[in-house]
Symmetry: C2
Subunit: 399 residues, 2 copies
Amino acid sequence: MTWVAGADGSAYGVTNLPYGVFVHDGREPRIGVRIGDFVLDLAGAEAAGLVLAAGALGRPTLNDFMTLGRPQWTAVRQRVTELLTDVAHRAAVEPLLVPLDEVRLLLPFEVADYVDFYSSEHHAGNVGQIFRPGQPPLLPNWRHLPIGYHGRAGTVVVSGTPVVRPSGQRPGADGPTYGPSARLDIEAEVGFVVGVPSPLGAQVSVDDFTDHVFGVVLVNDWSARDIQAWEYQPLGPFLGKSFATSVSAWVTPLDALTDAFVPAPEQEPPVVDYLRDVPHRGLDLRIVVEWNGERVSEPPFATMYWTPAQQLAHLTVNGASLRTGDLYASGTVSGPERGQVGSFLELTWGGAEPVQLGGGEQRTFLEDGDTVTITATAPGPDGTTIALGEVTGTILPPR
Amino acid sequence: MTWVAGADGSAYGVTNLPYGVFVHDGREPRIGVRIGDFVLDLAGAEAAGLVLAAGALGRPTLNDFMTLGRPQWTAVRQRVTELLTDVAHRAAVEPLLVPLDEVRLLLPFEVADYVDFYSSEHHAGNVGQIFRPGQPPLLPNWRHLPIGYHGRAGTVVVSGTPVVRPSGQRPGADGPTYGPSARLDIEAEVGFVVGVPSPLGAQVSVDDFTDHVFGVVLVNDWSARDIQAWEYQPLGPFLGKSFATSVSAWVTPLDALTDAFVPAPEQEPPVVDYLRDVPHRGLDLRIVVEWNGERVSEPPFATMYWTPAQQLAHLTVNGASLRTGDLYASGTVSGPERGQVGSFLELTWGGAEPVQLGGGEQRTFLEDGDTVTITATAPGPDGTTIALGEVTGTILPPR
């Protein structure tokens, strides 16, 4: 129970408390925690001595705070919970609450490296069927390791940032042509944000996941399928992805997701030792994709074949170091049903089966002016339901 | 002519003047310029009012200086040239010269995003022949666009950093096995360092190359061929590359390379408009690869099919933004002859033809303890020859 009006019973009650960075009233960007429809100014709270975090809360990104490590993350969360639940603190804390509709939310952390995995069996299988019909949908390596690649960290943008339709080379009957992408798509994903770094040459074990990962964001990995199809062999996606990747403005701390862990799908054949996580756990995040306000899909994150702990262990098995701010995304989340897919490529089966939106509009891929919003909920502590921060974006015409 | 002893006639005379970051005498890291066998302390020079650069020379990386843009880069270079050639400045400047063998060189810039291209026709053709014998060596897209992908920025290390042999999954007869890479290789490349950023959604034209690119480094893109072969489909190289990428400690400014531009190979079929650079120019950098001190290859950078201006235009054609510190590498540099290849994969033709090193030792791929050093020279201003900073590394056993 919190004394903040309207927060109890909402998906942003005291069991949630995601972190973000906001601008208000012309002041410097600062860290805040969302509670109900308010943002608690943590920079102000630390300056007033209400919470202690080595000065890290007074910074314009979460990076310094995320470097501190799990004991400090948990201590700050406990203290913030006290401040928002014990009425004795109300007089001191209430002036630090800012209405959400008065703030502008910024990219909450400086992205170090961005890695994108490909860990949904249903997504990889659908893509295989669409692009390689008649062949085995999964490539031979897929069940042995979490396939991934590096994306462009510099074009990770915060939810709400408009996305200019990218141009590039697309395949044509008489060779490639240059022009705006005609197959602009989304990928609904979940991203994991690294707080605690690791040294070059060392491996991070599956057991050390919660020591390194601070929290979770929702991700829309916008994808230009025509550009991607022409460029991706043999070195993988490049310009088909690098124009923009949107993340939610709120980072949900892992401490808010302790009740969301569920057994992950069984893996067959058995994985090699460094990928064996016991317990083998995924997260029960229920994602919703809205296209121009219409709910078109509900991807279940619990169906992911590879878990975030396995992804982290794989990412570092070759000795690659971690930096604070590293972001690794799950890959498109798709469940077994057509109404559970995380891309429009799958929803329209390669563009062959348009979907009907409200007002009789039909869509295959994204049109200029379209808006896509991805949200998610999860079982929170104490029987509550918590929301992850939404990630939304609107397509602008090509320049 | 410089008054610095021993510099005239060396490959680090006043027509070269590369930038680096060094530590000396326990003081904070600072920016310096190499002249002969000395480093000119530019932080000290700026503090003494001998050179003006908005305070950017007092920083521990080149990033702030690189943000200033070409007019400032050229002005600082001209001023440093004056200081080192006009004996009137000798008394003030000489105390700022530090012997090279007393300094430790650091990574000269903070890497924002790292992109690796694949722009040598001979390299791509060799790889095609080795891995897809009997098929056309180049894929259909290769002559239409400079193929590239994102690498891991966080594991870019400065020359001299030891490289721990990476472990991971390698393909085996009965499925993948885990262990140290048995096919550890190099890739001799040239890297371009972005100084001036560009906004998201905008394209950078081929004509704007010199406005954005500050300078050049030598790159060794260490590659574990067995890990790469198993993981790379369908999303490209990941752990086979991400354990370490070495760059030279010295960044050679483009202003030192004005005489090194030469016509690039003719492109057929003609490229689409955004890739048409007039003049179509590459750089006459003559690379040397030494394996345990033995010269094994001399890759000619002038043979590269795609030019750095084309690579930059391609990288941004989809609206991807540039940040200060972005590094994009050419891809392995290989000429038409076996003695001109930039990887040991090619030098030993997939490991089938071992090379003979000094003392009767034979090699296919890298053994623990091996050292690889890549150097390069180029035609400098006024008929001089200038050296690019070397990039060297020694393989350590797996942990």
